[in-house]
């Protein structure tokens, strides 16, 4: 089932750089803020003439009453660089809500994220306060500014850093087996670099905990038309990240 999608003007309410190259942006939105589900995304358009294509951005939080949406993005190229140059009061265009999000049935999930991948996971935590734990990883402590965003909504925060400057030293997934053994999670929801997602999915499978992954691909339309973002499914059929995902059950897209 596909719900209606909208194109809305979105005025920038605040934009701040949370760490070098990573921005949090809050924009006005009525319909999308009212209807978006955790894990869905929007196609964000810059003011006319700045770019040809929209850019896909995961929804990190929504506020139906205040009519707002929050996104995080990392400056990786021309489009995100231009986005970072805009200020409160400037107008963007958003198309959404797009795609399929994370399971709404989970009662006690573990959210696993690295870098900007923590953004869509935050939307789940915010939608179901007090249910999830989060395992977040980064290279150094600076990259874990996300703690303060998750804290109001989750029970436990587990942290890893590559250099040991915060939490457990090592890769994020290194402590996943232990966490899955000690707790009775009913779902693992992962978003981050593909290698991390594949490793997490394998660990979750061994522990027999259902696992969802949120994939990222370049896309033009976000509506399932351009086929820029297609990936192989395990059954041999192709999947479109924009429409069939971005969130998939791990066994649907990973071997």
């Amino acid at each position: 089932m596909t719900l209606p999608k909208y194109v809305e003007d979105a005025r920038i309410l605040t934009q701040k750089e949370r760490m070098e190259g990573v921005f949090e942006i809050i924009v006005s939105s009525e319909k999308i803020a009212a209807e978006a589900k955790p894990g869905q995304f929007v196609q964000l358009g810059l003011p006319e003439g700045e770019t040809i294509l929209r850019r896909p951005v995961g929804i990190a939080a929504r506020d139906e009453e205040k009519k707002r949406l929050t996104f995080f993005y990392r400056v990786v190229g021309h489009g995100t660089g231009l986005l970072a140059s805009h200020q409160a009061g400037d107008n963007l265009s958003i198309l959404g809500p797009l795609g399929h999000g994370f399971s709404m049935e989970a009662k006690r999930p573990l959210l696993v994220g690295g870098g900007i991948g923590l953004s869509p996971l935050l939307s789940w935590a915010q939608a179901f306060p007090g249910r999830a734990d989060v395992l977040m990883g980064g290279r150094t402590a600076v990259e874990l500014f996300w703690q303060e965003d998750f804290r109001p909504f989750v029970r436990e925060i587990h942290i890893t850093t590559d250099d040991g400057s915060l939490g457990t030293k090592g890769f994020t997934v290194a402590i996943l087996p232990e966490l899955l053994q000690k707790n009775s999670y009913d779902c693992v929801m992962v978003c981050g670099p593909e290698r991390m997602m594949r490793a997490a999915a394998e660990i979750a499978q061994k522990a027999q905990v259902p696992c969802q992954v949120s994939l990222e691909k370049r896309m033009a339309c976000g509506l399932g038309a351009c086929l820029s973002c297609s990936v192989d499914g395990q059954d041999g059929r192709r999947r479109k990240v924009c429409k069939d995902g971005p969130v998939f059950w791990a066994e649907e897209v990973f071997p």
């Binding site: 040809i52 929209r54 033009a220 820029s228």
Partner: protein, 305 residues
Amino acid sequence: MNDLLETELCGIQMKTPIFTGSGTFGFGEEFADFVDLSRIGGVVVKGTTLLPRRGNDGIRITETPSGMLNCIGLENPGVEVFLRETLPRISKYHMNVIVNVSGSSVEDYGKLAEMLDVEGVSAIELNISCPNVKEGGIVFGTDPKAAAAVTKAAKEKTKKPVIVKLSPNVTDITEMALAVEGAGADMISLINTLMGMEINIHTWKPTLGNITGGLSGPCVKPVALRMVWQVASKVRVPVIGMGGITTAEDAVEFFLAGASAVAVGTVNFADPAATMKIADGLECYLRQKGLSHISELTGKLDLTF
């Protein structure tokens, strides 16, 4: 009813002479939240082949100055799945469905034309110009004899109007146009994408998985307009002009250059309602100019100085 834009081409009744570019509009259904699909003159669906194709690996799109490169590689479920699943599913939108087809041999085009000679298909567009797959027709699109052979093969196997979509990656586009017209093409559409590439200066590798890709968007509009003008001046069959059309004003230029209809492509990605805005804008333009029908613009380029 909007008689300013109502058009009939080769027996196809259209509320507007605005088509969608193949590969930019899926099967139409993806855009149902944003447009009245029955108001689009022809929804040209994603390139279809005899057998399913998974398309190219690696990065498939990248934005370029005022445009984009793509190398999707004709990913599609194949003509049988299209006929069995897609066509019945989209019939509820009452749109003119035009099926864009690609083959790797002359016989493939004949076979596809025959299989698609069914109710619910308004016309067939022969893609002899996909730059992104070896067998995607480009060999037929750069050789006038091969282009004529493909056109003839399709015409012999279907009663539907046959549109031939030309590649701009040729020395003389009019030679190709005359060849397919001579072989029986009912309409000619142009241009397909221009072959291009982008290199990542940090990795020294091509951005696109297929190394090269097809360039589209506003940056190609002047080239497209010039080619539409050249072709429309030479052929008698209707020309569908496309290449970077983003606004109604862009569309007006193509009509003046000789197009009987236009197709809208890359802009659908940025604004899914673009086709409707262009239709509204064309009506507005015609009223302002005191014209009673869009056909009064076709080929009216004034070359007196």
